[in-house]
Assembly symmetry: C2
């Protein structure tokens, strides 16, 4: 398997090196020492996953930087999975991170095998989100969902989809529903 394209964003060079080393067999890594450097790297390359530290400022432990970074990444590439890392892991911070769209949340120091597994899972998720379906499939899924939601009531489903009843009819026929 080809190596994954990983971006490591952490202000501590030792942490970046340790992560790069631990992941050497599964991922090729670029590094960013600041959120701005991270933005630049995101603009320049396409990544499969990001490893993002939550506490850039020394002594900072609220995780504000990490959440900010998460937002920036989503803005640059909405489908890119982000693994948050912190040494000061409170449950509330973990919950907030994942609710905001983080793919995973790891505590430092990490176990190397857990880190590798998390990165691979995150990369896989990114690929899945990027994958796009043929237009027909998209339509079929929307039709199925509408029919389910309205318990098979064709007239109501058609109205919800903004389509005439015969039109929905034809599609049901077309997709074998």
């Amino acid at each position: 398997m080809e190596k994954l394209a990983l971006l490591i964003a952490d202000d501590d060079a030792d942490v970046r090196s340790a992560a790069r080393l631990a992941l050497a067999t599964v991922a090729g890594a670029r590094e960013a020492a600041s959120l701005d450097a991270m933005d630049a790297a995101l603009a320049e390359h396409t990544f499969d996953a990001v490893l993002l530290d939550m506490n850039f400022a020394l002594g900072e432990r609220s995780g504000r930087d990490g959440l900010d970074g998460l937002d920036r990444i989503r803005r640059a590439d909405p489908d890119l999975s982000v693994i948050l890392m912190t040494a000061f892991g409170a449950v509330s911070l973990a919950v907030e991170s994942l609710k905001r769209g983080g793919a995973d949340f790891l505590l430092k120091p990490w176990r190397n095998d857990a880190l590798a597994a998390a990165v691979e899972a995150a990369a896989l998720k990114t690929c899945e989100k990027r994958e796009l379906l043929p237009l027909d499939d998209v339509e079929r899924i929307a039709v199925e969902k509408a029919l389910t939601r309205h318990d098979g009531n064709i007239a109501q489903a058609a109205a919800a989809l903004g389509v005439s009843r015969p039109a929905l009819y034809r599609r049901m026929n077309k997709y074998g529903l």
Copy 2:
């Protein structure tokens, strides 16, 4: 605003009562003392959110029951938001819960205002997931995503969507892209 339809699943009657009371002004609640009772309630009614305890068996603190319950709920209603609760909150359990699709993760004992806010947010999320878009919008979004992913290359985007190039062309025109 109308009261929300909430399902409280916890084996401890005192916990159920406390939650019901704390939420009296925002939600009407049904209760289930076991996962099986929860399934029955799900089959019988449609809810806006579920409050699910993670530790049914006494002394159990792995959260296995909660994750199992979460799976069951998703099977019964994939769009229904679930708030997980536990008294033994480890970061790893919180992370696992949210990665599996939980909407939120609260520690017992809870603050009543935080609980109410979580329930309202979860219910809102449920409604959003249930809401279905007109077929045209679904198509427009898929087209936009395909074009973005291929940097505006029409021929490639059309191929990815399984559509002839003129067809994509017409749609771009139609949606003002």
